[in-house]
Symmetry: C2
Subunit: 213 residues, 2 copies
């Protein structure tokens, strides 16, 4: 598979959605699908779909459509899901526990290796056979284990400090749930989930609509 | 304040970030700030900031910068945060509990009125003085209480059913955490938080970078 460079962020952001829909089609034993049928399901236009998938190679076949299993495999490959990622979660509050308990992530190849918290009430508790460790053990753990991804679920005041520990120990990917913009070196990738911002966007749209009525 | 119509989604998505940074400036007793200083903090260019804020009216003053309190007030107003939103959470698992426990949402005007779950072990438990109710009570509750926002934190197979109940009972805003694209009438606003998609985007970017090295 030849992969073109400089794929736009908009296309990249749509890939996981393709991945999710194709996985559902596979579960329902659908073998092939046209861009038109896929369009009806996923809500992008058929021409958008053809354009998106063309960025990564020649997947479709005129008059036949897409081979679902093959397209799923290719998109998994493009997304980097053909290998495993070892992850740690820092902060075992509700969000941290939710991530730890979400078994779909493990199926996708994200393997939980450690959970850390500062709260003595949580330390020693187990989530899916992984014991919550004292956050003071984090640096030691990272120096002895090669971790790909750190999930930051601590309060905002502590988030940068944790992020710096992760980065100093060669963690190259940060999934950040703290409502703060973390500073990292250029070779580290951050993906933020800022829940407040999502909620405020919803409030804006809701409010704007009610004004128009 | 005069509000221009047809603000682009990109601008709208940036407003909550302005709101968050201004709230931090206020906490630190900063009275005024230039677009250049704000730019250094928030990471958008100064010209982007001036352009964004111009969409909503004339906030800055040449040579003086922005009055932080006034700008915060105006952006709160634009976002619709000058009124309260009554919300219900459906699904009291980890994500539902995280949302229920997050007191910043209440400070922003989102008032939790009810939590619902199907799990007998959770029903009757209290989260911040709100008792988790049997999901069978949802429709009855909605018919007797005017609710603005429903937060869907149930497994994906149940999400559409819950969404339809909310919509049938006049809930106009849905904050959806289930990994599924819900179908709603045109006058209902949905904001999705699709965690898997966020994680897969991170994996893609991480993978792409390690290939380039």
């Amino acid at each position: 598979m030849e992969k073109k460079k400089n794929i736009s962020m908009a296309v990249i952001k749509r890939l996981p959605k393709y991945h999710r829909y194709l996985s559902e089609l596979l579960k329902n034993d659908v073998d092939r699908i046209s861009s038109k049928e896929l369009s009806e399901k996923i809500g992008f236009t058929a021409s958008q779909i053809r354009q998106d998938l063309n960025c990564f190679g020649d997947f479709g076949q005129q008059g036949y459509g897409y081979n679902v299993r093959e397209l799923y495999r290719q998109i998994s490959n493009i997304l980097g899901l053909t290998k495993e990622y070892d992850i740690v979660i820092i902060g075992a509050g509700n969000i941290g526990q939710a991530i730890a308990n979400y078994n779909r992530f493990e199926k996708l190849g994200f393997v939980l290796k450690g959970i850390f918290d500062a709260n003595p009430k949580l330390i020693g508790m187990k989530i899916r056979d992984i014991e919550i460790q004292d956050i003071d053990n984090l640096e030691g753990f990272l120096s002895q284990n090669s971790i790909d991804l750190g999930v930051i679920c601590v309060p905002r005041v502590n988030a940068q400090k944790i992020c710096t520990s992760l980065v100093n120990n060669n963690v190259k990917g940060i999934w950040n749930f703290a409502p703060v913009d973390l500073v990292v070196p250029e070779d580290v990738t951050i993906e933020n989930v800022h829940l407040s911002e999502s909620l405020l966007t919803l409030a804006y749209l809701l409010n704007e609509r009610s004004e128009q009525e």
